[in-house]
């Protein structure tokens, strides 16, 4: 039992190949976390609820993608169905259930989400079975890995990072520049006024929830080839993405990106230096941020 292995960490930091390998693995953890966390932060920013069942959307995204891939053999369709399926699920979930607990106390919102965490996990267990599943790497990416400065980088990782960055850019620009983005930001500030000006705020709430669910589903679909699928897989992702939003600041997209990358790097390098304390390192970082900046690194006004 080695609790702290600083030699391993130091020797990795000294070697370019190890540095590249660990950084890319940190980046993909971070990018997946970002996609989940940004949905969480977006939903919180506009709807003022924390979607405690957000991890379930990540899980459904992965399972939808696996099924679509097994049926069609097309990886693009797999990703698409993961994202689209969870978007529809998010819309239904918000309109039928969550919309009933807005403005009620946090306890009720948490309870409704808690109920759905239980239900969704069991639904997955019913449909796909309780055992571990894996989707397998699509044929297009079964190619020899790239070597950058001696470090191993599978090409799929590059795709994953690219898609996540593209999603971040589209989301950030869309919210800042587009008309819909402006309406969403206005609804976050003052839903009553937006509604009085003739916009259907229910539609906006449903849309934002669907968008958040879609991003988590996209993360799940992207993760499906490189992670094993199991009922309940969403929960640890939910906790980590919540830590990300606490670090970055609730409601901030840039905060979610920076927070997710930091957590990803902490996880990948921490597993070398503190193999038994990797998770603890993450929490320690969260505590430091919470104590020094309770609103998070970028938390000020809601997006």
């Amino acid at each position: 039992m080695i609790l702290v292995d600083l030699d391993a960490l130091a020797s990795c930091l000294a070697s370019p190949s190890c540095l590249v390998t660990q950084t890319t693995s940190g980046l993909i953890i971070g990018m997946l976390l970002f996609l989940v966390a940004v949905g969480l932060t977006l939903i919180f920013g506009v709807l003022k609820v924390v979607n405690f069942s957000h991890g379930a959307f990540y899980m459904f995204g992965a399972y939808f993608a696996m099924t679509a891939y097994q049926l069609t053999g097309s990886f693009a369709l797999a990703i698409l169905s993961g994202a689209a399926g969870t978007a529809i699920l998010g819309l239904i979930f918000e309109r039928v259930f969550m919309s009933r607990v807005y403005g009620r106390d946090v306890l009720m919102q948490l309870l409704v989400c808690y109920a759905f965490v239980l239900i969704f996990d069991d639904v997955v267990r019913m449909i796909w079975g309780p055992e571990f599943k894996s989707m397998g790497m699509p044929a297009a990416f079964q190619v020899p890995p790239l070597f950058i400065a001696g470090g191993v980088v599978p090409p799929y990782y590059l795709l994953l990072i690219g898609v996540a960055l593209a999603a971040a850019a589209i989301l950030g620009l869309g919210l800042a520049r587009s008309r819909i983005g402006k309406v969403i930001r206005a609804a976050a500030q003052n839903p009553g006024m937006v509604s009085a000006l003739g916009t259907n705020t229910g539609l906006i709430y449903g849309g934002v929830f669907a968008l958040g669910g879609m991003l988590a589903g996209l993360a799940g679909a992207l993760a499906a080839p490189v992670r094993s699928l199991t009922p309940g897989m969403g929960f640890s992702v939910l906790i980590e993405s919540f830590i990300v939003t606490v670090i970055g600041g609730m409601g901030s997209i840039l905060g979610a990106l920076i927070g997710a990358l930091l957590i990803g790097l902490i996880r990948s390098f921490g597993s070398l230096g503190f193999p038994l304390f990797t998770e603890g390192l993450m929490y320690l970082f969260m505590v430091i941020v919470l104590v020094s900046r309770p609103t998070g690194l970028f938390g000020k006004e809601v997006a």
Binding site: L111, A115, V123, M126, V246
Partner: protein, 339 residues
């Protein structure tokens, strides 16, 4: 100076002093009667299953009622309260397995350890706003759970603490005897509930209610909100740990599930089920949830779905706990009698 003078010249306010003693005597009486009834139970019904059920009710009931001190009385929605339940179970089990001290010593030592952990975690958490508080406590729960899983040499990892917990007899009380264990659990439950009731009815308890209703006003009149919240967080943790210790004694071991977040979720649901507006609501909720759990697990392996639907029914449909209905019904009847 002027303020001082104003204070001197003002008439002392006539505050009716409420004597808390009759209420306390009543609580003592209720506690004694409850204990005697519970102690007589094995003579009336010999079924081991029933006694097991009561022991589990004692463990979960202490946990859920202590959570209500946070949720119902102080407005602190902790989603990680189960960590102290797990901590109690593991702390006690390890203490008994590794050191072989008498049971009361291990009991007190576990409470001391819980106190230290609760002070550290509470100091970080209690100043956070409600949703942050809920999730950061949840995050700490997951930290403790993952520590238990990864620290295999000490905790046995996902297999749990196995090999049984030694239960040497102390002053003639032999906890490996099922009846002795039952009586001890009942005693701990009744004493725990009595103490929590005294906390809830004390001036400090009313301070907590004020913090729940309006923390800003409370701090304006000179209450140290942060400290009051921390104190109740730590006290609640101690009672939750006691529940965990009963559980560890009952199963003669400790399992990672005791520290998993679902325990906290169930605690919150128990409070919702029974109602947070009455002191005994969580106790009623505990009995209901355990019956529900036992029935559902016997009928289907997908008990998450059933439980989830029941939660939705309560949270969206009824919007109240069972005891809330009972209290309302009584109030209504009393109103009718008067009118």
């Amino acid at each position: 100076m002027t303020e001082l003078q104003a204070g001197q010249s003002a008439q002392p306010l006539e505050v009716p002093r409420i004597d808390a003693r009759p209420q306390r005597y009543r609580d003592v009486l209720i506690a004694l009667v409850a204990f005697v009834l519970l102690a007589l139970l094995p003579m009336l019904f010999g079924s081991k299953q029933l006694l097991d059920f009561v022991i589990r009710c004692a463990a979960y009931g202490l946990f859920a009622t202590s959570l209500n001190l946070l949720v119902g009385y102080t407005g602190l929605i902790s989603f990680g309260h189960g960590m102290f339940f797990g901590l109690g179970a593991y702390g006690f089990g390890l203490m008994m397995q590794k050191t072989g001290v008498p049971i009361p010593v291990a009991f007190v030592a576990t409470l001391a350890m819980t106190l230290v952990v609760a002070v550290v975690i509470g100091a970080i958490c209690v100043r956070l706003k409600e949703i942050y508080f809920a999730f950061v406590t949840l995050a700490f729960q997951m930290l403790i759970h993952s520590t238990i899983l990864s620290w295999q040499s000490l905790t046995g990892g996902d297999q749990g603490l196995r090999g049984g917990i030694p239960r040497p007899s102390f002053l003639g009380i032999d906890l490996s005897n099922h009846l002795h264990l039952y009586i001890t659990s009942c005693a701990l439950l009744v004493i725990g509930l009595f103490l929590m009731r005294q906390i809830a009815q004390s001036p400090f308890g009313y301070t907590l209610r004020m913090i729940r209703d309006n923390a800003t006003r409370a701090s304006f009149i000179g209450i140290d909100v942060w400290r009051a919240k921390l104190v109740i967080f730590v006290l609640a943790a101690l009672f939750a740990a006691t529940g965990g210790m009963i559980m560890a004694l009952f199963v003669s071991g400790a399992y990672p599930e005791f520290a998993y977040w679902t325990i906290s979720g169930e605690g919150i649901f128990i409070n919702m089920l029974g109602g947070v507006t009455t002191f005994l609501g969580p106790m009623v909720g505990t009995v209901l949830l355990l019956i529900l759990n036992d029935t559902v697990t016997r009928l289907t392996e997908y008990h998450g779905i059933v439980l989830g639907v029941v939660i939705l029914f309560f949270a969206i449909g009824l919007r109240k706990g069972l005891m809330d209905f009972v209290v309302e019904w009584f109030a209504q009847r009393r109103g009718e009698e008067r009118g």
